[in-house]
Symmetry: C2
Subunit: 189 residues, 2 copies
Amino acid sequence: MSRQADKRTAILRATLKLIAEHGFHGAPTSMIAERAGVGVGTIYRYFRDKEELIHTLYEELEARHRAFVMQGYEENGPIRDRFYHLCRNIYRYLLANPLEFRFLEQYFDSPYGVAKMRQKLESAGEPFHALLKEGKQQGIVKDLPTLLLFGLIFGPMINVIKDHDSGLLPLNDVLVDQVIRATWDAIQR
Amino acid sequence: MSRQADKRTAILRATLKLIAEHGFHGAPTSMIAERAGVGVGTIYRYFRDKEELIHTLYEELEARHRAFVMQGYEENGPIRDRFYHLCRNIYRYLLANPLEFRFLEQYFDSPYGVAKMRQKLESAGEPFHALLKEGKQQGIVKDLPTLLLFGLIFGPMINVIKDHDSGLLPLNDVLVDQVIRATWDAIQR
DNA sequence: TCGATCGGAGTGAATGTTCACTCCGTTTTT
DNA sequence: AAAAACGGAGTGAACATTCACTCCGATCGA
């Protein structure tokens, strides 16, 4: 069971699973190695240290997530449609990938993650940024600081998905649409 | 500096500060002891183990927080007024006590905290519970699962306060009122 | 009143455990 | 056969918890 170019992948997958399920501190390198069917030392052939492993994992998940969310996005459609499109895709992705959601949550709570989050939210590449800015200009969206609007959108999202994953509040398409609607009511002028 | 009955208090305060500032895993007992001006062993005179120390701290903070929030609450006033009152008080308290906010955040992310949170949210003692139920009956509040409404209320709250505490989005009374207003728009039918 | 004795709060060096990470012998690939 | 990849016992640092001891105010006997 040696000599696989995809040992790297196995390590990343094991890391995702362990961190998502048991938190950062329930994922010692020894356990990651075991789960990945790999020696401890092998981890260090592919990643300088545990920190780099985690960052790399984040970057790869982020890229996948982004690609999914942007599928079929109409850069120039009506504000409200674009808003629904983005929200729906994010909900869909995170609900379909609970491990990734748990991991991202942990990551953004950690010291590295906080910096990443800011950078991400403030980046012009973030489609929500343009969306909200435009919405404010057109008088469709409340004239509040963008960060505050982000809070109104992502706050409920995180909360509600957490409850879903823990089995407290099973979501379905109808319910998700209702949350998105409520979120829209919150930011709409 | 010996023989003080308030060593217990000093230990609790040090724990709050260290956990709030550096997280659960940045608060070793050795550091708590140092910060409290106390020997390491002394911690174990007052608390069976670190876990009990943390639980106790939570209970005391929770009690203070609750007392503050309920000040002047009109059990029978109009739904909307009660909603504003509770929200405003929670925001006020958490903004005035950033250390407690950070601690509670960490606590509710931990395995113990999750159980506590459910218990709390589902408890009939929770004033928001009665509020939302009544609101739904009167047709003022959207007919959505209570847990979902909680998400719409507390999600933005947590997000926005986090951003405030990290200096990204300085809040003031006006801004807080605007968030509460937006939150109301989200849950209002 | 005062010296002796006692109880228990307070202490921190020592202990056992858990980790991230290294090092080098082994296995696989070329 | 040489090089590259791999494995996992070993290492040292960090941690929670313990326990043999200190010290001081209180109590007691004279």
